[in-house]
Amino acid sequence: MGEEVKLFRTWSSPFALRIVWALKIKGIEYETVFEDLSNKSPLLLQYNPVHKKVPILVHNGRPIAESLVILEYIDETWKQGPLLPKDPYERAMARFWAKFGDDKVLTSIWSVFIKQGKEQEEALVATMENLKFLEEEMKGKKFFGGERIGYVDLALGCLANLISIFEEIVGLKIVDEEKLPLFYSWMQNFAEAPIIRDNWPPRDKMIVKFQALLDAAIASSSSS
């Protein structure tokens, strides 16, 4: 009985990357369906009518949406290469850090990228405070998951690529190796890990995409 696994994604979505990594780490065969978000397919709208977003995992015809929900589904369905720890307290901590990444870290780093002037300065301060918590969490570990890449690494992993892209476009240092040595090493180790390093979206395309987003943001804020 074949397993049919499809992943609906865009080429650049950091949330979809989490799912690509998880599927590849577990050695799960799947088919990719690339979506154009300016022209969403009927299938996307059918599989995720509530949010109309990607990524969506479709397993044997049944859709699951929201990347962290999908990660937990993958971990519970395919037991090889476990992403979450077994101990309930460790699992709660992993979920906490993944949520912290989404709610606070990504948000503050995005603000550093997209804002200017005082707002950007404030975002940098907030980012530093947020990353200090992650720095603390890395003590004595190679990855957030320990010796192996785990759920938190996948949840935060897009930062290992996005941060350097943002730094290049905006000309600002977001992660200083001296101030955040453990987090900096984690970014290097994660970005170059097998499977992870083979699946980054093309850097030149990312730079073009994000530069365009920044230009549009600056244009709309100066014309208002």
């Binding site: 309930p88 699992r91 709660a92 906490f96």
Partner: protein, 219 residues
Amino acid sequence: MADDIILLDFWPSMFGMRVKIALAEKDLKYEYREEDLRNKSPLLLEMNPVHKKIPVLIHHGKPICESQIIVEYIDEVWKDKSPLLPSDPYERAQARFWADYVDKKIFELGRKIWTTKGEDQEAAKKELIGCLKILEGELGEKPFFSGENFGFVDVSLVTFSCWFYAYERFGNFSIEAECPKLIAWTKRCMQKESVSSSLADPFKICGFVVLLRKKFGIE
């Protein structure tokens, strides 16, 4: 002392109420500590240095933060009694998806209703009703969100029901008129002791909102 559980909470918080329901569902004894959010205790700041928020569950001296995460933790540790999440991975994913939906939408929209006026308030009302209708659709004809048994999504959403009176009063609308099946579901949940003993009195919540509006200078 039996299970060595402390809950740091603030009585009007719909997030703290989720934890109270989960603890009650599992029949657990715990120490309840009320926090004054204008004067946070050293324990709260030590146990939740990242967010400095309630609820915080402290089990054997170790803190767990974020209400959905706490509820999952309680469900995993005390797994033999009244399971809140289903056992099937697909059903679990659906439950997590809908609990996440509640988190993304209901609190912010509710807050906008009692903190804004005019067009902003009308937009928030319309959007809240839209979201509650989507949830009502997901509930369908089932007694609870995952079927016959009270579960994770019910816990996530029902705690907002004691805030509905405040939303209705300041937004000047009726949630029951728009979403009768959802209100019927809240009453069904309230028949459970774990829920009725954990939710705050809607009139007290409304009084609390009156005080907050004064504090924020909303009129």
